[in-house]
Assembly symmetry: C2
Homo-oligomer: 246 residues x 2
């Protein structure tokens, strides 16, 4: 699935196109196309994606008097009355061999627009059912990777450190990708992404470091075949009631 | 701060007023008022809160050609040109002794509308600065507690279990509350909250269990003085660069 065979879809999340997140997405696209692959992008801010799961997304309600999100999701999938923006987003994922989620860390997690992309796109009864999950998930065979920016320096992260531990902070997103069947590769973290309040000398060294980081990301994307996915619990690890087998 | 002195603010998050989340919010309000306290509610779905941090919230831009969220937040706070919905939300928190976040667990975290409430309400330069954080945070002296519903049964949760570990899943929200100075009390989790696909007998026992759970929540709110807050790392635990002191 490398080179010419590989199709990558980038879910791009930042309100400012000229941000460093924008540069990371462009670097990924250039690198992957250079390797002979194809790349599409879903720019959630650009398309005005609505991250709020709510009644008005459903034209044909199974329960018009009471809004139960999962019931409406299942009904919309079954009757092919899915919200149009979700049909687009799901099609993008279906065509991809690799999915990159590019976003800044805001309040120890993804921006709301990306959280709500999961709330809405991972449709009950369509993208998952009680048996079609985890190792038997809808997107089985596809890989996903998070590329995350943060303003604080590397030293501030880790268990007990001020900024928190990335393994914990990214767990909800990564486990959700695992839930719908993706093999999740270790994340790429860009530290110290900020441009304000620095002297000229500091600013220059910051820019040099961030430019170097773009090259690291591009290079890393050319070697994904060598990378083992993260290990998450799966069906063989659980009892029937979902508890962990000790 | 108990009884007549205590003012509680509930941030209520569910798209359906007749949901079990709605019942939990009403049970909390009744219980706290019965104890002599006062209660206000911010219904994020009801008020149409926009969880997406974006340029259009800022009428008076410090950088009109490039949208840097934190720079605009600091500028808006300093020039008192804050978005009106945030002035309301922040005022509600300032007046509260106790803040309850009531929400369903969606994709191993809060719904997007609550994630974005944090993205927008916790304003850089106003609600926090590099020194006004954690133990020296803006909301120091106030308490916060999460009340969370989930469809899966209790057995499915815990380290390595199918549904995930609540300590990990709630860490991003709870640590963010700690970041802005709240003492965070252990969460109240309502398991097995669902009403579809059951036989009459199962449905009856489900309803009895959920009714009983409302009483447990009401009772728990009357005994918060006895509860120790969760312990999170704080200034004395870190080196100057934010790394944990070993």
């Amino acid at each position: 699935m490398e080179g010419t065979q590989m199709h990558t879809h980038i879910v791009h999340v930042h309100p400012e196109p000229h941000s460093y997140n924008g540069a990371l997405t462009r670097a990924a696209k250039t690198s992957l196309e250079h390797l002979g692959g194809t790349v599409t992008t879903s720019d959630l801010y650009g398309s005005g994606f609505d991250p709020v799961e709510r009644a008005r997304h459903y034209a044909d309600r199974v329960q018009p008097d009471r809004f139960a999100p999962l019931a409406e999701q299942r009904h919309a999938w079954k009757t092919q009355t899915m919200p149009k923006d979700l049909v687009t987003e799901i099609g993008d994922l279906e065509r991809a061999d690799l999915v990159i989620l590019q976003f800044p860390l805001w309040w120890h997690g993804p921006p709301a627009i990306l959280k709500g992309w999961m709330d809405r796109v991972f449709v009950s009864g369509g993208i998952y059912t009680s048996r079609m999950r985890y190792g038997t998930g809808y997107f089985k065979g596809k890989r996903a990777i998070l590329s995350v920016t943060t303003g604080a320096p590397r030293a501030a992260f880790g268990p007990g450190s001020r900024g928190g531990d990335f393994e914990t902070m990214l767990w909800p997103v990564q486990y959700s990708l695992h839930y719908v069947g993706f093999s999740v590769l270790p994340p790429f973290i860009s530290y110290g992404v900020q441009g304000h309040g620095y002297s000229y000398e500091e600013q220059s060294s910051l820019e040099a470091r961030l430019r170097e980081n773009l090259a690291v990301w591009a290079s890393q994307l050319s070697k994904l075949e060598d990378v083992d996915p993260l290990r998450f619990p799966d069906w063989p690890d659980w009892n029937e009631d979902g508890s962990a087998i000790r």
